[in-house]
């Protein structure tokens, strides 16, 4: 007898799996790592300059050059870092370890090419000497490889390795810098070389770690580009977060308190130095995320998601969801309180301490410091919420929130330039505050409808999403084959 019955069993067999991705959290946290490391190095370089009798011009040029290179490299890597993290997480989940290393060189190569050309053009017109330019370009390249390697290392959770390589970079930079200065190399060259050697060691260290962990594979180096198409919002989230963090610094270099150091190298030391120091206060939330939010929230989160994967009944899912959100709320509250205390402490005690340090703090800088401490404090808590959105795979929400962050901190900072100098830091503060609100509202809305986002959002029929990045990957593969 005829009848089709249920020929659609293929459809039934296909079940979405939700790997619990914790890597984001770490990646997000460690993304502040390079900034922190850069700040420590900068402060160290300033210190070395001051103690070895460099001219103010030399000192500021050095700070500018290192800052420019640092920010440029972070900006370039930010577009791919989260996507690459997701790619690695997927590959590890599928136990395709051999796909990891090729993607490392593929992504590094792309960023080196694109970033190198852009930064190279800038350097040609920047007014730097040839040797300075080459040193900066070299450092830029090193930094890109290093930041990218760190995305990979965080994915395998080798924090010890990262921390050790950080320490090595700092010690070696100082040692080499001190040595070169001793033998009479000019300050700018000596310290640029020192920083390059320091980061060079870190680069080697990280790559060795990667090679120790991942097998070499003959897979396509550009396979990961498919992930860029599929997780485009994630790529933009990375980019926007960095833009938001840097834009107010760069905008200050165009304003009334800017100092033209040489050619296109501008600085706003009155704003830059307080900003760098204030940024250190977010360490509290960064550490808190790893040692508390993650530790308490992740098990609940994993349990909740695994109930969807491993046959949890509706009642269990609802209960686990409530439990998870309760812990989430509590942890966010603690994060906010801790950051509030840290910020309060930094403002009250930090101001006094800074006046004693040889950073030349004045009243204006004290004011910026206080404003930016609050701004970064708010940013830190909002960033935690953003990371949680990523845990819940709300990539679109995260992209929107980070877009708001980038757009508003820039816009408000530009507007603030029209007011008195005293208010310059408020642009970032206000932008962060809106970012905070957006994240809070979105996280609240999203977590209320988690089953909807986990189940319903999935297309009934799986579809491949490809786009220009996938095509770019195919194109590059073909190119490489021919050569």
């Amino acid at each position: 007898m005829a009848g089709i019955g249920f020929e659609l069993k293929k459809l039934f067999k296909r079940r979405g799996l939700f790997a619990a991705f914790r890597a984001y959290g770490y990646a997000g946290v460690v993304c502040t790592g390079p900034m922190l490391l850069g700040i420590v190095l900068l402060l160290g370089v300033m210190y070395l300059c001051d103690t070895t009798g460099a001219s103010r011009q030399e000192r500021e040029l050095l700070v500018c050059m290192i800052t420019y290179t640092l920010l440029a490299s972070l900006l370039v890597t930010s577009f791919l870092s989260m996507v690459v993290t997701r790619f690695i997480a997927d590959m590890l989940y599928e136990e395709k370890y051999e796909a990891v290393l090729p993607s490392f060189w593929g992504s590094t190569g792309l960023m080196l090419m694109a970033g190198g050309v852009l930064y190279g053009i800038f350097l040609i017109f920047s007014g730097a000497t040839l040797i300075e330019g080459l040193l900066m370009l070299g450092l830029f390249g090193e930094l890109i490889v290093t930041w990218n390697a760190m995305s990979y290392l965080t994915a395998i959770k080798d924090y010890r390795g990262i921390l050790l390589s950080f320490t090595a970079a700092i010690i070696i930079t100082f040692a080499v810098g001190w040595l070169l200065l001793r033998i009479g190399v000019p300050h700018v060259i000596a310290l640029l070389v020192a920083v390059s050697v320091g980061y060079g060691i870190m680069l080697l260290w990280d790559v060795v770690l990667l090679y120790r962990y991942f097998p070499q594979g003959s897979l396509s180096a550009f396979f990961f580009l498919r992930w860029v198409d599929v997780f485009l919002p994630l790529a933009f989230t990375g980019l926007f977060m960095n833009l938001g963090l840097f834009a107010h610094l760069v905008i200050m270099w165009t304003g009334p308190i800017r100092v033209q150091v040489k050619g296109l190298f501008y600085g706003a030391p009155y704003h830059d130095v307080p900003a760098l120091v204030a940024f250190l206060t977010i360490l509290v939330t960064t550490v808190n995320f790893v040692v508390s939010v993650e530790v308490n929230f992740y098990p609940k989160y994993r349990n909740y998601y695994s109930l969807f994967n491993d046959g949890g009944a509706i009642g269990d899912i609802m209960q686990a969801g409530e439990e998870m959100l309760r812990v989430l709320g509590m942890e966010l509250k603690y994060t906010a309180i801790k950051q509030l205390l840290a910020t309060a402490l930094a403002i009250s005690v930090g101001g006094i301490v800074l006046d004693f340090l040889p950073l030349g703090f004045n009243d204006l800088m004290d004011g910026y410091f206080r404003t930016l401490c609050v701004g970064y404090g708010i940013y830190a808590v909002a960033n935690t919420m953003l990371l949680l959105l990523l845990y819940f795979t709300d990539y679109k929400g995260a992209m929107a929130a980070s877009g708001v962050f980038a757009a508003l901190t820039s816009l408000f900072t530009v507007i603030s330039l029209r007011f008195s100098e005293v208010y310059f830091g408020f642009g970032f503060l206000l932008g962060s505050a809106v970012f905070f609100l957006v994240c809070a509202v979105r996280l609240n809305q999203f977590t209320r409808r988690l089953p909807y986002y986990i189940l319903s959002i999935q297309p009934v029929v799986a579809e491949d999403r490809t786009g220009i990045f996938t095509e770019l990957g195919c194109f590059l593969d073909k190119k490489l084959e021919h050569d």
């Binding site: 005829a2 009848g3 089709i4 069993k9 039934f12 009944a313 509706i314 909807y452 009934v460």
Partner: protein, 467 residues
């Protein structure tokens, strides 16, 4: 009259009992115009008809279940559901008794996009609530995906284009029955149902055997097909089946007994009754007119024949029919080889009329049947039959109450190898027995199972629709 025939997975795509019947049916109803509304599984079969369509088929509307997979969600759903609509959708999900008119209107008139619906919060909400009350202990994600794959084809079909006709005549329940009702609702026309087997029961057997259905969802799938059958049982103007037992099952499943009637299958008696009997040549030739498909249980047939050939050397088995299931066919060929059976002949699809001349009697080992044409044809050609006790085989062999023509073969339980072997052996032993039983069968077919008789009953049915 413009009759829309709704068919599922058979005519005009594959050969088989229902297909053959349908083809002859349309060919003989010259006075009516037919529109075929056919549901296939795979869109790649579009237009691949194995029958040359008769002149009076004026249109073919093909719908394919896998096309449902290619429906694109139209973004976020804007529709606000009324309470009625939510209730009907919930009933649909718990395989209860939805208000189909509400659903018809939702997908036909309000053009709800099935994909968008399955991705909507409303769907999840209804599912969550029904899981809390009806399935508190089953895996929720599985329930979600099961529900989606269960509903997608239905929702897709509900929104499909409806051909216009004077009457909608479904040849099965299930999806086909549902479409017939949709047509009837759309153009306010009557709906007829002719069931050859009991669709729901067949699905049920399939589901129970299916390895890919998680056990906790078997009940759900089975209820789902019961629900689909329920629509047309309730909404049809008249329901016909091939034999009394089938009718009783239909009534048991909720069909109003007042609208049930039996219309037996009919065959072209004159053509078949002219076939001469086989001359004695020292061999006993057994024929099986079957497609190679698991439901026909060819393997048991081969095993039974193997036992028979241990006892009798002069027997041959002719398996006549195309391949339905490649994998199963390969297993059957391998089995014959493994048992070293030299006298099993796979003929492929052949002209039964001419091949019948070489046969002494026929065999049918199906696990499930309605009213097999092959048995009727065998009888008309004065060949008795060994069958399994499925469908109305026993009724065909022994006669309905009041039928005194006598036995026309042997009936054994399905999958009962020894029983089949013994029955065949008895049949082989005596030519006079075969002749007597063959004569009984022929007389029975002549009296009750002639094509003219069947056609006349269906014509009456169509007249009732008009009147």
């Amino acid at each position: 009259m413009k009759i829309c025939l709704i068919l599922e997975g058979c005519y005009p795509y594959v050969f088989g009992g229902v297909s053959t019947w349908m083809h002859q049916y349309i060919n003989n109803m010259k006075e009516h115009e037919f529109i075929l509304w056919v549901i296939g599984a795979n869109a790649k079969d579009r237009g691949k008809f194995v029958y040359e369509l008769p002149q009076n088929v004026t249109a073919v509307h093909e719908v394919f279940l896998d096309d449902a997979l290619h429906v694109k969600a139209s973004g976020k759903m804007r529709h606000r559901f009324s309470k009625e609509e939510t209730d009907s959708l919930r009933e649909l999900m718990i395989c209860g008794r939805p208000d189909w008119e509400v659903l018809f209107s939702l997908y036909q008139e309000k053009r709800l996009n099935p994909m968008s619906y399955l991705q909507s919060e409303e769907f999840l909400d209804i599912l969550t609530k029904s899981c809390l009350t009806h399935y508190p202990y089953i895996a929720f994600a599985d329930a979600f995906h099961t529900m989606r794959s269960m509903l997608l084809p239905v929702l897709y079909l509900l929104g499909t284009e409806v051909p216009k006709a004077d009457v909608y005549h479904a040849i099965c329940t299930g999806y086909g029955g549902m479409l017939a009702c949709l047509g009837g609702w759309m153009y306010q026309k009557k709906v007829l149902l002719t069931e050859h087997g009991i669709y729901t029961r067949e699905r049920e057997e399939e589901i129970i055997r299916a390895k890919w259905v998680v056990p906790s969802f078997k009940k759900q799938w089975i209820s789902f097909f019961y629900m689909l059958s329920d629509i047309i049982y309730r909404r049809a103007f008249q329901v016909t089946c091939l034999f009394t037992n089938a009718m009783l099952i239909q009534i048991q499943m909720g069909c109003d007994s007042k609208k049930c009637r039996v219309i037996e299958n009919g065959i072209h008696y004159e053509r078949l009754s002219q076939i001469p009997l086989k001359q004695e040549d020292g061999w006993v030739d057994i024929g099986a007119v079957v497609r190679l498909a698991p439901i026909k249980d060819i393997k048991t047939m081969i095993y039974a024949f193997f036992e028979l050939s241990m006892r009798k050397k002069n027997v041959r088995l002719h398996i006549m029919g195309g391949v339905d299931d490649e994998e199963y066919a390969a297993e059957c060929y391998a089995l014959v080889e493994q048992l070293k059976l030299e006298n099993v002949i796979f003929t492929g699809r052949v002209d039964i009329i001419s091949y019948m001349e070489r046969l002494d009697f026929t065999i049918l080992t199906s696990i499930s049947e309605g009213q097999p044409l092959s048995v009727l044809e065998s009888f008309a050609a004065r060949r008795p039959c060994v069958t399994t006790d499925v469908g109305c085989c026993r009724e065909l062999l022994n006669g309905k109450p009041g039928d005194t023509f006598g036995e026309a073969g042997y009936c054994v339980p399905p999958m009962y190898r020894e029983g089949l072997a013994a029955a065949m052996e008895r049949m082989c032993e005596s030519r006079s027995l075969r002749l007597r039983m063959g004569k009984n069968g022929q007389a029975r077919v002549k009296a009750y199972y002639r094509q003219e008789r069947m056609l006349q009953k269906y014509r009456e049915l169509y007249r009732e629709v008009d009147g």
